[in-house]
C-alpha cells in the first residue's frame, strides 16, 4: 500500500516528469554525439588534413564524453 502511494505521488508529480524528460533528452543527445563521432571517422577516411583531422576527431570525442558525463551526473543527482 505504501509503495503504491509512493508510485501514485511520483506519477502525479510534475517535477518527476520534468527530471525524467531531461534525462531522456540528455540520453538522446549522447546517442546523437556518438553518431557524430562515427561520421567524423568515416569522413576522415575520405579526406585527411593531417593534424586538423585529428583535432576534429578529438573534439567529437570530447563532445561525446561531455554528453555521457552529463547523463551520468543526471542519473546520480536527479
Amino acid at each position: 500500500m505504501e509503495g503504491f502511494q509512493m508510485f501514485e505521488n511520483l506519477t502525479f508529480n510534475l517535477l518527476f516528469f520534468l527530471k525524467l524528460f531531461l534525462m531522456f533528452l540528455i540520453f538522446g543527445y549522447a546517442v546523437f554525439t556518438f553518431v557524430i563521432v562515427t561520421q567524423v571517422i568515416v569522413m576522415n577516411r575520405l579526406f585527411r588534413h593531417n593534424v586538423v583531422s585529428e583535432l576534429v576527431f578529438a573534439t567529437a570525442l570530447f563532445h561525446l564524453f561531455a554528453a555521457g558525463f552529463l547523463f551520468f551526473v543526471t542519473l546520480v543527482i536527479l
Binding site: 540528455i26 543527445y29 575520405l46 579526406f47
Partner: protein
C-alpha cells in the same frame, strides 16, 4: 635509339619532374604550402590527402566554401551563448520565486543547453570542413557532407571534363571574391559543383589549363 630498359628510380624521378612541370604550367608555381585549419583555398597543399588518391597523384588545388559563409551560424551561436544570461536577467527582474525547480535541475538544464549550443556549432563546422573540392593532375574530386549521415563523393577524370564555368553574383560575393564553379563532364557522368568557393575565376582557369594538358594519366 630509345632505351628499352630504364631503371625504376629514373622513371620515378622523371614522373616527379613531369608533375613539377605540369604544376608550374597549370599554377605558375611549384612551391607547396601549408593549409591552416580555417583555410578555404590552397594551391599545392602539403598536408591534404584523400581516400582514392594514388601514390603518384599530387593535389594541385584544394578548396572549400569561403569562410565568410560561416558568419550566419557563428553569429547565431554567439546569440545562443548570450541568451541564458539575458533570460536570467528577465526572470530576476520580474519574480524569482515563480520557478519552483530545484537548483541542481536548473544547473543541469543550463549545462545541457550549452552542450547543445556547442553541438550546433560543431555540426555546422563539420559541414563546412568536409565539403571540399580537390583537383589533382588526374582527377577532380568533390566531397559533399551534409545532414549528419549523408555524404557524397563525386570524382571525374580530367580527360572527361568538357567545360568549366563559374558564376559570381551579388555584392557580398564580389567583395569577398567567391562564387560557384561548375565542371561539366562528358556523357552521362555526374557534373561537379563547387559552391561559394574563393577565387572562382582562378579555379576555373586552373581546371581549364589542366584540360589543355589532358592530365597526366600515366605518370
Amino acid at each position: 635509339m630509345p632505351d628499352v630498359f630504364t631503371p625504376k628510380e629514373n622513371s620515378k624521378l622523371a614522373s616527379q619532374k613531369n608533375i613539377a612541370s605540369l604544376a608550374y604550367s597549370v599554377l605558375g608555381t611549384t612551391k607547396t604550402k601549408n593549409v591552416h585549419p580555417f583555410s578555404s583555398y590552397c594551391e599545392l597543399p602539403k598536408d591534404i590527402s584523400f581516400q582514392s588518391q594514388s601514390h603518384d597523384e599530387v593535389v594541385l588545388l584544394f578548396t572549400r566554401r569561403h569562410f565568410i559563409t560561416n558568419l550566419g551560424w557563428i553569429l547565431t551561436t554567439l546569440l545562443l551563448i548570450l541568451f541564458p544570461a539575458f533570460f536570467g536577467f528577465i526572470i530576476q527582474a520580474f519574480d524569482q520565486a515563480r520557478i519552483p525547480l530545484p537548483p541542481q535541475f536548473i544547473v543541469l538544464s543550463i549545462l545541457f543547453y550549452f552542450l547543445v549550443v556547442f553541438g550546433y556549432a560543431f555540426m555546422n563546422f563539420l559541414t563546412w570542413f568536409y565539403n571540399v573540392l580537390i583537383v589533382t593532375q588526374k582527377e577532380i574530386v568533390d566531397i559533399d557532407y551534409s545532414h549528419l549521415v549523408y555524404h557524397n563523393v563525386a570524382a571525374t577524370n580530367v580527360n572527361l571534363v568538357e567545360d568549366v564555368n563559374y558564376t559570381q553574383a551579388g555584392f557580398i560575393r564580389g567583395i569577398f571574391n567567391y562564387g560557384d564553379v561548375y565542371v561539366q563532364t562528358a556523357g552521362g557522368k555526374e557534373n561537379i559543383e563547387a559552391l561559394a568557393i574563393p577565387k572562382p575565376a582562378r579555379v576555373s582557369k586552373i581546371i581549364l589549363n589542366l584540360i589543355g594538358h589532358g592530365g597526366l594519366p600515366n605518370v
